[in-house]
Subunit: 146 residues, 2 copies
DNA sequence: CCGAAGTAGTTGCCTTGACAAATATTGCCC
DNA sequence: GGGCAATATTTGTCAAGGCAACTACTTCGG
């Protein structure tokens, strides 16, 4: 069961990877670009929150994207702690192509699913996440603190 | 949908991580030990195949486990290319504890699932994997080679 | 039997993620 | 207004995975 979830996840990742190759992106790099472009998320912390990674990881992801010339950092004038992200022209061009490609990869993995089955899958995964965060986040486990 | 799968997967990983901490293992390190102990898989290549990672990654995983004193490498006498893995006494002791803990973590994520729902989830994930490998492995995509 | 091809394992270099410590800045309380 | 907690970002260190190059061995074809 655990291994199955891993295989499904990595299979989807590989599919996305293939789709993103023409854009020069990896399977992970599209997400920050999409969040900036489609959702107007424009700070490191907000991106990290939305992507479910920590700020340190996001900083380095942005380093890579910046070195590819896809985005720029600009220190905020109103709160000098925060860095605002903005896509370059090239970044916007790449970002525009992301959504359709990502949807293609997902669609391929669900190619023989009936719409109802997709809903069921989503609902079951959501419940797994809920059950999981109930245990991982608000810790009330009796195993360690009796 | 992609993000959801990622969240479910990482949530399960974190759950397993917590369970394995008392053993001094990470969420990834239990798998090779379990394969050696429960399935008698005892070469690098076989472990890599079962775990769905490449040999290079497995080599380094085994480095870490070996440096923790959980297993030993022994060059095969009959085919001097292959390395046989064997658990140390400590390794066997740790491995014995793995299965119940891993099952606990899975059970927590499926705590409110009816048995039928578990079956459905497994079946849907398996179909995703099948659809995915049909596209990732035997490549007959028309996008690149017309 | 010998050379070519294939296989097992290791290593180098890169991406990605987690966690912790350090820095800079803001906001809040007295 | 000054100290202190909270917040944003960066950097170091580590685990983990992918791919490619390399070594050592085995096997197979002639």
């Amino acid at each position: 069961m655990g291994p199955l979830l891993k295989r499904a996840f990595t299979s989807l990742l590989r599919g996305i990877d293939v789709k993103m190759q023409p854009l020069g992106l990896t399977a992970m790099q599209w997400e920050p670009l999409a969040l900036i472009y489609y959702e107007n998320v424009d700070t490191v912390a907000a991106l990290a929150r939305e992507s479910q990674v920590n700020c340190g990881s996001m900083t380095r992801m942005l380093d890579r994207l910046e070195s590819k010339g896809l985005l720029r950092r600009r220190r905020s004038a109103t709160d000098r702690r925060v860095v605002h992200l903005e896509l370059t022209a090239k970044g916007r061009q790449v970002a525009r192509a992301i959504r359709p490609l990502a949807l293609e990869a997902v669609a391929q993995h669900l190619s023989d699913f009936k719409p109802a089955e997709v809903s069921v899958l989503i609902q079951l995964l959501e419940r797994m996440v809920t059950n999981g965060s109930r245990l991982n986040d608000d810790n009330s486990d009796a195993d360690d603190q009796p």
